[in-house]
């Protein structure tokens, strides 16, 4: 007992001495540690490579890495190489937060690119706000968020719906059936959709949510049959969307009179459900793989030669790609010693880039992007036919369903 106690004291004293020596050492090291060091600049890449959403996040990871490789092959940013630190958060929000903390605190990344679901974005948000770091989020999402530490390069509800909903009402009619998965994203999209429909004098005959991962739609399809809506506005996501489309087709319903209109069905989902089941339905998005522009041609060719000829690009992989280029342009404006997350945020404001979808710009007020929405109809070969595109780029308004709130550079304001 006595001996143990003495040993304990000895160990304790040694540890104390070590920490006395240790602390100043760590401090001095820390103060001189700039974000750009040794000719490289570290960024985090945080997409799930395993778990339920890995299916889609893998493609975002690929687009991100490809953009980084492109920039490095062209001499980096002012001679600095971008070094990606890839972590796999395994589709789990808690792991997302843990890996984000690791990337920011221990790897000292100057920015992190990542995440697909809203749940995972909400999980990492506190890390970036507390550590004053910068997170780049490529996915379309429900809006209603105003963080000073996130650059949002995906579409918000007004950008996907402002052209889409009136177009559908005019073309197909005023009886609308809203069906979605049961979580925040479909509910917020539907909030805005209902507002637009009300303005157009259209009628919502049903608003219904199915559990996430639900795969049996026969009752829903029965209701489609008896209610006979003009448009089915679907915010069903994940593998449910495959089941919904395949069962819709098996039931013999006709997209020509009762089309499904979606904000999430991209080339990726179509590849999973088969072109025959998706044909005839509509999607609104800023980017489609068939979009005809020299930038997109380059993007698709580079993606396929890097990752395989059968791969598809879609509107989330496109924004994963162009946000790296926005990052590059922002960093290029800074001296190497000035590079920091907040300096990058200031530098990226109003920055423009010629993306595969067309010219995009970061809105300085709310850090979302001006995008170019298009309406596509799916064809049996799994690609979309672009029917219309908005005349100009559309301003992002993350609070479009809430007219008394506005996201500004100073934060959320009541107006």
């Amino acid at each position: 007992m006595n001996k143990n106690r003495r040993e304990f004291l000895k160990v304790g004293a040694a540890a104390g001495a070590a920490s006395l020596v240790g602390f100043p050492h760590i401090w001095s090291k820390n103060s001189s540690l700039a974000f750009a060091q040794g000719g490289e600049i570290k960024v985090g890449v945080l997409f799930s490579l395993t778990g339920t959403t890995a299916i889609i996040e893998e493609s975002l990871n690929k687009a991100t890495l490809m953009a980084i490789e492109e920039i490095n092959a062209n001499g980096g940013i002012n001679g600095l190489k971008i070094t990606p630190v890839v972590e796999d958060p395994a589709s789990d929000p808690a792991t997302f937060a843990e890996k984000a903390r690791k990337l920011v605190l221990s790897d000292r990344c100057v920015s992190v690119f990542g995440s697909y679901t809203s749940a995972s974005r909400k999980a990492v948000l506190p890390v970036f706000e507390k550590q004053e770091n910068l997170f780049w989020y490529p996915t379309l999402y429900e809006g209603r968020e105003c963080s000073k530490n996130v650059i949002y390069t995906g579409a918000v509800p007004n950008q996907q719906q402002d052209d889409f909903i009136p177009w559908l009402v005019e073309k197909f009619g005023k009886r609308w059936y809203l069906i979605g998965s049961n979580y925040i994203y479909p509910k917020e999209e539907n909030n805005y959709c209902k507002k637009l429909l009300e303005g157009l004098g259209a009628e919502v005959i049903a608003e219904e949510y199915v559990p996430l991962g639900h795969s049996e739609f026969s009752s829903v399809i029965n209701k489609f049959r008896s209610e006979k809506p003009n448009v089915i506005f679907s915010t069903v996501v994940g593998d449910s969307v495959v089941a919904l489309h395949r069962q819709y087709r098996a039931a013999g319903l006709d997209p020509a009179t009762m089309p499904m209109a979606s904000l999430t069905t991209s080339e990726n989902e179509v590849a999973a459900m088969g072109g025959d089941a998706a044909a005839g339905h509509f999607t609104s998005a800023p980017y489609f793989m068939v979009f005809d522009s020299p930038e997109n041609q380059r993007f698709v060719e580079a993606y396929r030669s890097r990752w395989g000829g059968d791969k598809v690009t879609h509107f989330v992989s496109e924004s994963s790609y162009f946000q790296i280029h926005l990052f590059k342009q922002a960093v290029a404006k800074l001296a190497a010693s000035d590079i920091s997350p907040l300096a990058i945020r200031e530098a990226v404001k109003s920055e423009e880039y010629k993306a595969p979808q067309g010219l995009v710009k970061v809105e300085p007020e709310n850090l979302h992007c001006w995008l170019r929405p298009k309406i596509g109809q799916c064809k049996a070969d799994g690609q979309f036919e672009i029917l219309t595109q908005s005349a100009d780029w559309l301003e992002p308004n993350p609070y479009s369903a809430y007219p008394n709130q506005k996201c500004t550079a100073e934060g959320l304001k009541e107006v």
């Binding site: 049996e216 026969s218 049959r225 495959v242």
Partner: protein, 289 residues
């Protein structure tokens, strides 16, 4: 009228899928007492076999059904020899072992076939819809219903009217005494496990044109299958049939009048209440009473 018919048809379609998925589980559980948590993975493997045969060899779904049954049954046979037979009479260990097998199967499929969602093309002859008494229903769903009923009759026939079925029933009542009368119970168990696995594989192949095919798809089906078996009563094939009919029709009806989220919740609550007052399930075998 057509509404009633279409609602009954929807319920029957739900029931047929439940029956398909639960049948294999009911046989394995009823005869060998093994709680097979890897059952969903047999369903998943069946769906992947259908996808593989179609995308790689161009086989239509109908042509590949027999092959899929044999492939998944063979796998069940091997698993019985390698793992399950060492664990009879150790229910906790079988739960762990089959769960582990399930996880491994999922990951193996993910590593070999990839994590993407897949789909299986519906047989062209069945991709239309048919009118029945004024209601419209998908021809393929009716086909699945017919196959489910056919498989049930076949299984019931084997169980009831063949000498192998007689031996099975003897083993179910008392394995030791049945063995002492010269019945090779190890072989019977092995065949049962393989047959149950094969039926699960068929179920996966049959539902694959309606649902998405992914490595994780089995997890939801194993839950549904257990609900059916628990409600119907272990060791009762008729109970499995009845409870899948009841569950399918009820959840179809509730989903029509409210939505699928509520339907799922209410059905689970109802099951909890029923097994509270009738723990042996709706159809308990008389022999054990």
């Amino acid at each position: 009228m057509d509404f009633v018919v279409s609602q009954i048809l929807t319920g029957l379609s739900l029931s047929s899928i439940l029956l398909l998925v639960a049948l294999g589980l009911a046989i394995i559980y009823g005869v060998t007492g093994v709680i097979n948590l890897a059952h969903g993975e047999f369903v998943m493997l069946g769906a992947y076999c259908a996808w593989l045969l179609q995308s790689q060899f161009g086989w239509s779904l109908l042509a590949s059904l027999a092959v899929i049954f044999l492939l998944v049954a063979a796998l069940g046979w091997l698993i019985e020899i390698a793992v399950i037979r060492h664990l009879y009479d150790r229910p906790l260990d079988t739960i762990l072992a089959t769960w582990g097998l399930g996880v491994m199967t999922q990951q193996i499929v993910r590593l070999t076939a990839g994590g993407e969602l897949r789909y299986v093309q519906m047989p062209p002859a069945l991709s239309g819809s048919v009118d029945i008494l004024g209601a419209t229903d998908s021809a393929y769903r009716l086909f699945v219903l017919a196959v489910a009923l056919g498989l049930f009759m076949l299984t019931w026939g084997i169980y009831r009217y063949t000498s192998f079925g007689l031996k099975l029933r003897a083993i179910t009542q008392n394995r030791a005494i049945a063995s002492s009368f010269g019945i090779n119970s190890a072989r019977a168990y092995r065949l049962t496990f393989a047959y149950g696995a094969g039926i699960a594989g068929l179920a996966g192949a049959l539902i694959s044109p309606l649902k998405s095919v992914s490595p994780e798809m089995g997890t939801t089906y194993v839950v549904d299958a257990f609900m059916v078996v628990v409600l119907g009563g272990v060791q009762s094939l008729v109970g499995t049939l009845a409870s899948s009919a009841v569950l399918g029709e009820t959840s179809g009806l509730i989903a029509y009048y409210s939505n699928d989220t509520i339907a799922k919740a209410l059905v689970l609550v109802a099951i909890v209440i029923i097994i509270r007052f009738r723990p042996q399930g709706l159809f308990a075998p008389r022999v054990r009473a």
